[in-house]
């Protein structure tokens, strides 16, 4: 095991090349709904269990299922009303299970990127061959069902091997959402090729906010606005990224959706906001900033 993931050099926030987003926007704002399928009785991964309760975990399973049956459809309408597209973090087996959900996203011009096959199949301890097969499944399934080339990656249930980011880069992906070390896109050091880390944010993630930190819906709306205000202000100097990662089974609950929509409308009511997708942010950064950021970075010293 390594002590440092070795995925990035040090680039302090106050000494960076300036990022200029399209049309002088301060913030590249993107929404990342996690559209997921959790299995009722998944096989065991050697190091990570799937459900907190023994199968069938009716409460855990049905709570997730709510997202596809009900929550998603409520969430979509809030995006529409605020003129936002989603960048879907997709468990690709959703293409087989619930193609209606995929169709609803596709017809709105949303991006699909991969969140693995199921949210109950984890990368931990996979062989390289298994991991390649899982990534290839995502590339093929998204291509076949949506016509899109797969560009982005968020590991299923945030499970990894040391090879994961090398493999997705080698297999043609251009960005990942797995690193939480920055508020701007950054180059990721991989074995070969160029991979962008696009800020995703666990702090703004409804799963962390509601399920881990147990905030109320209105408190969530409040921290979204605070997060945005500061990133908007700082973005006048150099472009920042704000992401709100979502889970339809959480934000799509009736008692949560209105407070979320109010915060979303607050953000999209500002004029210097680039309503982007993950792919668009990664592409812009790759074209304009990636090399300058890599060059400005300082090598990391050896830990004592």
């Amino acid at each position: 095991m390594k002590r440092d993931p070795g995925l990035y050099d040090y680039l302090p926030y106050d000494r960076r090349p300036k990022i200029r987003w399209p049309d002088g926007a301060h913030v590249a704002f993107w929404l990342a709904p996690n559209i997921e399928f959790y299995e009722l009785d998944p096989p065991k991964n050697p190091v990570r269990g799937s459900w907190p309760r023994p199968a069938p975990d009716v409460l855990g399973y049905s709570y997730r299922d709510y997202g596809n049956r009900a929550g998603f459809w409520r969430m979509v309408e809030t995006f529409d009303r605020c003129g936002m597209r989603g960048s879907v973090s997709l468990n690709v087996a959703m293409c087989q299970h619930h193609p209606e959900v995929i169709e609803a996203c596709a017809k709105r011009g949303w991006e699909f990127y991969s969140h693995g096959t199921y949210n109950t199949r984890y990368l931990f301890e996979m062989s390289e061959e298994q991991e390649r097969a899982l990534i290839q499944d995502s590339i093929d399934t998204i291509k076949q069902h949506t016509g899109q080339k797969l560009d982005g990656w968020l590991a299923p249930a945030l499970t990894y091997t040391e090879r994961t980011l090398d493999l997705i880069t080698e297999m043609g992906l251009t960005y990942c959402c797995d690193l939480f070390h920055d508020d701007q896109p950054c180059p990721v050091k991989t074995a070969r090729g160029r991979l962008v880390s696009v800020p995703y944010s666990l702090e703004m993630n409804d799963a962390i906010v509601f399920s881990a930190n147990a905030l109320s819906p209105r408190a969530y709306g409040d921290i979204i606005k605070r997060q945005f205000d500061r990133l908007y202000e700082e973005g006048a100097e150099s472009g920042t990224v704000m992401c709100i990662p979502l889970h339809p089974y959480l934000v799509g609950q009736p008692y949560r959706i209105a407070a979320f929509e109010e915060a979303l409308a607050y953000i999209t009511g500002h004029d210097k906001v680039w309503r982007a997708t993950g792919r668009e942010i990664a592409a812009h950064f790759l074209t304009h900033d990636f090399d300058a950021f890599a060059k400005a970075s300082e090598p990391v010293g050896a830990a004592p």
């Binding site: 991964n45 309760r53 009716v58 709510y66 087989q96 301890e125 819906p217 008692y255 209105a258």
Partner: protein, 306 residues
């Protein structure tokens, strides 16, 4: 440690669900439901009367509200029992005042120990529904099937005897089921279960013997979840209940009738400093026209007729 070769085989990767209990269905694309009298919202209130035995084992996991300290945990035992002695009567008064009849989920042990409490519920026209034997007899895979069958039959027999009702609804303790629970409760005469939180409306479930229904008892709009687990304030509790109602009420304008479920634990919400937040929320809800305060059986029957 390595991942077994068949880890990337997906036996249930197909259209619809990965099991056969119910079909895949999109809430806003269903035929709109009409409630009696043109109501927009069926308000369904479900207080749970629970007994946590002093010697609880917590097998295979500790249910929400389980005892905490070493034996004898008088502290948590008595605080839970407070709900059955005091808290429920505050809940009854709050519901009476708003003209609401509840579907009360009763551990059979509560019915056996405090039959007068069940009588008080029945006298109000409340519906009694099954809630297992007690909070230390969970239903789970690994419990031998004959034991689970006995658990269900015994607890329903007690409830039916004490309440004099048919007992058509079922809430598993801690909402925990085995793969057989739905088959077993259906065979024991249960028409609807309240464990599943994947919908805002009733839907049909397949069992070995016949079709039963799932009724949408939110585990979020629940006093234990909001006040104890999430540690929100009493005002925040009332706010979330009202926000839930407001969105469902608005949706019902274009999507047909909706169910607003309110899951209560009298040992939580029945505290003097908390009961007012429930009363305020109920006043907000019942202040709307077209709200039908129904029991689970009433709303199921209205749903199933359509």
């Amino acid at each position: 440690m390595s991942v077994p070769p068949d880890y990337l085989k997906y036996a249930h990767r197909r259209y619809g669900m990965d099991h056969d209990r119910y079909g895949w269905s999109i809430l806003p694309r269903r035929k709109p439901v009409n409630w009696p009298g043109g109501a927009r919202i069926a308000l369904w209130v479900v207080p749970a009367l629970e007994w946590f035995p002093l010697d609880m084992k917590g097998k295979p996991f500790k249910p929400p509200g389980a005892l905490v300290t070493s034996y004898p945990d008088l502290r948590h035992y008595t605080l839970r029992d407070y709900g059955n002695r005091v808290g429920i009567f505050r809940v009854m008064e709050a519901l009476d005042r708003s003209g609401i009849r509840a579907s009360v989920a009763v551990n059979a042990a509560v019915a056996a120990r405090y039959p007068s409490l069940v009588n008080a519920c029945v006298a109000r026209g409340w519906e009694v529904i099954g809630n297992g034997l007690d909070m230390d007899h969970l239903h789970y895979e690994g419990l031998p099937k004959h034991e689970e069958t006995k658990l269900i039959e015994e607890s329903l027999a007690i409830l039916r005897r004490v309440s004099g009702q048919k007992v058509r609804g079922w809430l598993s303790p801690a909402r925990s089921e085995s793969f057989s629970t739905l088959d077993l409760v259906a065979a024991a005469g249960i028409d609807y279960v309240c464990d599943w939180v994947n919908d805002d409306m009733p839907y049909a479930m397949r069992t070995e013997s016949r079709t039963i229904h799932s009724l949408p008892l939110s585990n979020d709009i629940d006093d234990y979840t909001i006040l104890v687990q999430n540690r929100h304030s009493e005002d925040a509790y009332a706010q979330q209940v009202c926000d839930q109602f407001d969105v469902l009420y608005k949706e019902s304008e274009t999507q047909g009738g909706r169910v607003m479920a309110l899951s209560l634990h009298p040992w939580v919400i029945g505290q003097p400093y908390r009961i007012g937040s429930l009363e305020r929320a109920l006043t907000h809800i019942m202040g709307h026209r077209d709200v039908w305060a129904a029991t689970g059986s009433e709303l199921l029957d209205a749903f199933a007729q359509q």
